[in-house]
Amino acid sequence: MVTALCSVRVRRGLVGLLALLALYGLAAHIASGRLPTRVSLAVHEIEGVELLPTYSSLVEEGVFLVQAGILLQGAAVSTGRVLAGLLLGSVVGIALGLAMGWTAGFEYALDPWVVLLRFTPALALLPLYVLWLGLGEAAKIGLIATAVAVVMLQGAYQGVRGIPRVYWDAAAALAAPRSLVLRRIVLPAALPQILASLRIAIALGWVTVIAAELIKPSMPSLGYLLALAGAYPRVPTIVIALAAIALLVLVSDGLTLAAYRWATRWMRRRYA
């Protein structure tokens, strides 16, 4: 494990990251005196905007945000929404996807609606959901769930369709009941595809939640923080909010990747 951490690849990666951070610091330092501080928004001009905030102002701002609880609370709220939407969407999407992959009739009947939903950006549904479900949590979670469900549905469907014919025939020859087929054949075989689509769904869920919070903001949340900081504008807060979002996305993506690797270890052993 330690040797893996010190490997050439990891070292070079760290060097790359540090180089990027150093470059940014340099640019911010050079720019702090030179860049225009007057920014014209749509209707008025604002003074005193630093377009590339230096590290010192970022740290200052970050400390303030954390101490005031804004950042952590906002992060918690946004993460909660993503998780809730993920849970709801996954259950619905996986169930429908499995059913569609299993029974051709079900697939043919649901196909037009799935295609419609696939080509509708989830955000376009937001005004509709807000109208039906009110300005509270339900609309945002419903939106995330819709986006997630579409992705998970496709993943589950591909997973079921990818099961080799032999397994179905063997189960039929041995007169296996449906529940057994589901538990022992379909779910394990579809799991890799489901987890792969879970990664995509998580990324999509984060994009959706941030966009939903930007469009219909409600305190406290990271999207609202971003919108507020953008409206003021307070650039250090924008950068910190972006960094916080990126961190959360990275962590959730990393966790899902680890889960995927763990669940598909039986697949990889074949090549060992």
């Binding site: 209707v43 950006p121 937001l126 469907y157 984060w206 469009i215 993506d253």
Partner: protein
Amino acid sequence: MSSPGRRRVVLGCVSVAVLICFYTVASNAGRLVDSELLPEPFARLSRPDLLPPTQAIFKALVSLVTGELPPMEGHHTHPSGHVGHLVEQHVTLQGALLVSVLRVLFGVAVGGPLGIMMGFILGWNRTADDYLHPIYILLRSIPSLALITYVMLWFGHGEAHLLIPIVYAVFTTVVIPAYHGVRDLAEVYVRAARSLGAGGRLLFTRVVLPAASPAVLSALRYSLVIAWMTTVGVEMLMGDDGIGHLLVGGGLWSSRLQIGVDPAVIIVGILGLAAVGYVMDAAARIVSDRVTFWARRRRAW
């Protein structure tokens, strides 16, 4: 048509027809039946401004396409604020869709090649990959819609602050499949060609590019969906035209929350959006299938 194919079409049409009938009945329930007779949740839902009756949807579609308000017909059908507002600004459905399509195409045309180049560089050169991969992962983790406020500070209120997030989204989406295509899929072919003495540019143009092209083309198809999503989001937030703007109801950003939104317009907009998206995806699929006919695999969707 073969029998499963015919069954698919028939079942699909039946399910669409069934839902439309069901919806028409449900949305018109308030008018057909006295609302006190309905059970509680239905009575609440059948308000025409929550569930627009099918004919209202149709009317909204007509007025958005032709750009004219329907003649006033008594107090039953009057144009909602949303439709009136849009017609006032000379916004039509096809005009808005055209603007959005142009933005999407721009995003894919600029972000696609950039992302593919980046993916090729990362996939081909291990050293570059070692240094740059974590940076790419960091950049990818920032949702492109979140960038819009920051970008607007740099570039003002023109078109750039709408297009940059779209380009960024396409770019970050396309890099990984291109990387995967060059690194993993082309490896066998590269080894074979190298053992026969090929090298340098010949190796790249005649072996690597064709071998990676199925993955790259399917990535471009997928990036189309991502580009649409970003375009709609960007237009909903800060656009002056385009389909996202139509969906949210027009007006400046600050007043976006106050315009009463008419669900009929939204449904019309969504149908138009889905139709255009489907057509673009079908076109991309046809083109990519023609180019990579030799790698055709049975596709489930």
